[in-house]
């Protein structure tokens, strides 16, 4: 999720980030890195999809951008890659996936208005973890 220039995927990509909204999993992401509803989650880490977007002279970002190729997101300038494109960022996975690139506005605590662009992904289902165990969990890219 990006708000203005403070947390934008454009900046993350521009500066060769290793993580971002739904950008990486696995080695770059401890599975219990975050928690919601006040409850820590401790499932074994999933594995990232093998493919992804290669940043020129930078890392491979283990995510694709599914969606019609005639859609270019207004603030990051990212063009979607087509409909036959993997929406999940984890591999050895079977489940229900939802993805949304929202465009909108944000109001900051400084009183200013910012552009908002998101890449929100939810992946709920069964996966084979890095340790080889088969688990069921919900992962979200925010």
């Amino acid at each position: 999720m990006g708000v203005g220039s403070t947390i934008s995927r454009r900046d993350l990509l521009k500066y060769g980030t290793a993580t971002g909204a739904a950008a990486t999993v696995g080695a770059a992401m401890p599975a219990a890195h975050a928690h919601g509803h006040g409850l820590p989650r401790v499932s074994p880490a999933p594995k990232p999809i093998p493919g992804g977007i290669q940043i020129p002279d930078g890392p491979l970002i283990h995510t694709f951008l599914p969606g019609p190729e005639d859609v270019t997101l207004p603030f990051t300038g990212l063009t979607l890659q087509g409909l036959e494109v993997e929406p999940s960022v984890i591999t050895d996975y079977r489940g229900f996936t939802a993805l949304a690139y929202h465009v909108g506005t944000a109001t900051g605590s400084d009183g200013r208005r910012y552009d908002l662009e998101t890449d929100v992904r939810a992946m709920e289902g069964t996966y084979v973890a890095e340790d080889g165990s088969r688990k069921r969990a919900l992962f979200a890219g925010l």
Partner: protein
């Protein structure tokens, strides 16, 4: 990417609607700018999806290389999504809302990797 309680994501029986709701999710945004940076952030969000078209078979499964974007199989529907968000990090907070009218959304069932065989 974060793990959330499974009840944070609700999908209708027909798979054509879904909601993701989470409060005070702790994130670490990592980025490279004049060296490595890690910024703690806390985000709350409520996102809804509603399918706008039929679910269609997508992906080519193991017919393609595992690194190929089509290395999955699924039944995916286009959708419209709306979201409301709030968050804070390093002394800055925000509230935001958006929709996918100028973006895109999808939802559906899929499998990849070891689950293709």
């Amino acid at each position: 990417m974060v793990e959330l309680p499974t009840d944070a994501f609700r999908v209708s029986h027909d798979g054509r609607r879904a909601t993701l709701e989470a409060k005070d999710v702790c994130l670490v945004n990592s980025f490279q700018f004049l060296g490595p940076n890690n910024v703690a952030a806390k985000v709350s969000l409520k996102v809804g999806w509603e399918a706008t078209g039929p679910a269609v078979r997508r992906g080519r499964g193991d017919e393609v290389d595992p690194t190929d974007p089509a290395a999955f199989l699924g039944r995916i529907a286009p959708a419209r999504s709306t979201g409301s968000f709030s968050g804070s990090h390093v002394g800055f907070s925000f509230k935001a809302s958006g929709d996918t009218d100028r973006g895109y959304a999808l939802l559906g069932r899929e499998r990849n990797g070891a689950f293709l065989t």
